[in-house]
Subunit: 623 residues, 2 copies
Amino acid sequence: MQQSFFPVDPTAVHLSDPVFTARIESCHNTTIPSSVAKCRETGRIDSFRLAWREGMPKRPHIFWDSDFAKVLEGMALALAQNPGDKTLADELDSYVDLVISAQQPDGYLNTYFTQVEPDKRWSNIFEWHELYCAGHLMEAAVAHFRATGSRKFLDALCRYADCIATVFGTEPGKLHGYPGHEEIELALCKLADATGEKKYLDLAKYFIDERGKKPNFFLEEAERNKTWLDESGLRNRQAHIPVREQSDAVGHSVRALYLYIGMTDVAMRTGDASLLDACRKLFESVAEKRMYLIGGCGSTAIGEAFTTDYDLPNDTAYAESCASMAFAQFARRMADATGEAQYADAMELSLYNGCLSGISLEGDRFFYANMLTVDDASFLHGHVTAERQPWFDCSCCPTSYCRFLPQLGGFAWSQRSGELRCNIPAAGTVSCNGMQIRVTGGYPYNGNATFECLSSGTFTLSIRIPAWCRNWSAKLNGKTVEQQPENGYLSLSREWKAGDKLELALELAIDVVRANPRVTADAGKIALMHGPLVYALESIDNGPGVNALIVPADQTFSLGEAKGLAGVPAIIGEAWRETDVSNGELYFRNRKPAREKVRITAIPYALWQNRGKSELATWLRSN
Amino acid sequence: MQQSFFPVDPTAVHLSDPVFTARIESCHNTTIPSSVAKCRETGRIDSFRLAWREGMPKRPHIFWDSDFAKVLEGMALALAQNPGDKTLADELDSYVDLVISAQQPDGYLNTYFTQVEPDKRWSNIFEWHELYCAGHLMEAAVAHFRATGSRKFLDALCRYADCIATVFGTEPGKLHGYPGHEEIELALCKLADATGEKKYLDLAKYFIDERGKKPNFFLEEAERNKTWLDESGLRNRQAHIPVREQSDAVGHSVRALYLYIGMTDVAMRTGDASLLDACRKLFESVAEKRMYLIGGCGSTAIGEAFTTDYDLPNDTAYAESCASMAFAQFARRMADATGEAQYADAMELSLYNGCLSGISLEGDRFFYANMLTVDDASFLHGHVTAERQPWFDCSCCPTSYCRFLPQLGGFAWSQRSGELRCNIPAAGTVSCNGMQIRVTGGYPYNGNATFECLSSGTFTLSIRIPAWCRNWSAKLNGKTVEQQPENGYLSLSREWKAGDKLELALELAIDVVRANPRVTADAGKIALMHGPLVYALESIDNGPGVNALIVPADQTFSLGEAKGLAGVPAIIGEAWRETDVSNGELYFRNRKPAREKVRITAIPYALWQNRGKSELATWLRSN
């Protein structure tokens, strides 16, 4: 196993690029405050006062703690990047005190079970979300510790983790269980990193090693609870076979991806090659067979789940926002663990498309599901909406953005001893282990990025050359770099001097993308991409019926602008629009529509539905 | 309101056509016996012995009684058509005695509640299936009475209906409720017809009139039961507004269509014009906006439900077999109630395609869901399978076929005083009210049908001229008929003599069908039809990748044969097959596949998956 990379702390990256920067700011200014307000309004904050009694309104729910924990994590991350925000610091501090006040003498910390069903602790691990909520609180506590240096939240969660370790484990008398909604595995790794306590890594490893073993814990639990559970239920929770034997990504997509992240984290920290090998296979299953072009995962709303290889319907796509964010994190871990750029390519795809599509530019409205085809006929139900919503009853996605967007800068860079690695050449500065770099340029809207060294020293600067890039060049202090990339990274090891400049030029072409012929939903269709950005047609620019437009593949597309999206390159081209010869009939025989030529304007998929209600076409009918 | 038509008793029709006849026979010989065996094996028959106790295997289920009732109805219908089948008669008789033996002193007859939850009678009308099971038992009892003349089963169900009438109604002290799964409304109309008792029609009318009124019964019930129910739950059960205000077909498709049938039945029997008007609107909503080309209903597995106008995805199509059978019955009622052929056109479409596709030619395997696109990527889950199954845990579809197929002949003909009306010119004989006709010909495989009068008398013979038929002609005793159809029927009123011959020639062309442009799923696609039959491509005839084949619309298709389907016209044509340039990648840029010309063979959709596992393409990628 090669030496792993690790993320650069997001507080060490300060972006000034045209895409991420505005999202980080809107998160700080809008997403976090509005999510705090929603948590207050819905009772999620008051739940920690432990004052709820049966018959009162706002009955706590089993996943509420996780939502508020994610907002707290986001507050801590935002505070770390904006240390002068005293209001934020004070607010966070008071919430942390509130959360800690809900901890029970034995370390247990869950407001649902403490208030609503105190006798049901740890009795339905499959369905209820105790370990999941615990994991998110741990992540919040670690972020709080890193942002403030205060150990109070961290120590509280260590006590909770210790309490959990008395309940779960291989020892007789303990539950041989593991989470029904994975997440705590990756959180325990963070807790181990923050505290230096190996026992938390051991507990994470236990949860991963035990999962899916026979006799199956969940089946035994279901028998105890007289609930019905079968193989497909186990698959939905990735508990049908031990994780090292799993090679197809199955079940609830967010649960699956959180598990895979935890597996990668444990593998990286323990040098467990068989575990990393399973992660490789599972990643391949997702990225090469079960992922939408936008980096979205989980094709069906039924169980919010992965389905089968190449089943990627556009109209009924679920592609949950949380799953995109989870996939980006999984890809990021894999890039760091293996050093291979293919994983960073996938991470970038998901970040710029499926992740950012889930939240409005203003930062206050969200998609839970990210369809690729939307029109008047779209079947909207539950979390599946054609317009972003301010909140959901199950509001995992909005609160995920609170903690995800502040980390965007951290995705751009990785590091290991003596090496700084650029995954995404977004403009900004990074400083890490004495190495300091400033990047300028307009990436991803254009492919030019200049890396200027702000410090001197001997280290390796490696820069990803994306797989989608057909032509690239680099000049170091004006001189062409002849070196070729290895594993997708151009790695320059030298004594860097402050003022050294590396000018990178990545060719960003407008590409016509096709899907594997086994993806029936995309047969006869093309998609348009410009570098890492997937483009799409909205009816706002193109009139109604965007999914019926015929876009010839063999034309010369050009860059232009779309109204209301100044500064964002649009793709301009031509298409055929068919006349409606249906006479209003649902089906009709032997009448062929005529065609007229029209101009089309495509915008980045992630930016759709930011200018009002609109139809959407991502995969375009072609010839 | 014009004078309604009524079905010709299916025992009065004896078919010898190339499609229905074999299905009726396989039902008698295979579907019914194998369903009886399954009912025995799973405990559905023994449940009527009332010997089950907690802890025993084969715990009765809330819908079990309905399954066995449907099989009994099928047995009675088959017996009526095969009165010499002594074994069937004896078996049926003993089962009827068994069922009657489970009736309680107060008339109540439900084996689940009697054995498993005796204190829960009528306590959850929304979710449990008491009234639904009662309705199917009533239908079985009526069929038994008509087949045997014995009143024992009928009288038992009258007692149960009387018992139900003491529980439900507008009077104080009664439940102001109505079924959570509609069906009893249409059954009560049959009971009223068989007994001449208006009180059963009144009870049916009560259930229909009360439905969806405010205050909402289901919401009140949910509050009593402390269960969660919202507007979308009410819509799933068509209980969100009173039925006369409903104009969009919503919710669980089988429930919806059973309701609409009951509404039509009540409207026909009471002359209720506002109710029939609602039926017209609901029919239009289904047939013109929410129905698959095969006559399948219910686009989503989520709630087994109708979705939105023009949302008709082919890969995730649910199109439950029971819904097709229900739609055919609804269309049949509407044709009879209004005399308009448009309804019979829709009935025929559903019969020959979506209804017959749900059962194998052998009669022993079933689709629950009828997808229009099937390949290796198909997402199979629960009842959604790519191959027909011998049974399902929730086995409504197999048992529906037991009672549906024996009625096929009855669909072909309607009657009213002095008029015999042919909806489908399938070969066979019909005799009704002294009128007797023999039809010869190969319909629907060809369009020639000769009607020969076997009796003499003055009456009207009316024959549907299908909307899909562009050219037709008729000769009466060799002389061209100049008369034109009215409301889609050619009606010849005269003194018929035995031996009179009417020769009908309907032009059956191979038609290229397109969908309304608002059906995004079918944009750029065509379907092939031959008369009323929808055709489809299987990989068995065309090799893998049938959904990616490009079938030019402007070619001359011809008729031929497909292997293993002798006597069935296949459609032969040409298509383009694309080369795979994916290199195994899920998505790829700027590579265009080449094309080669191939011959294609399409078979009737209803016959797919009768020659082994196969891919399926119904809507074909075109140019």
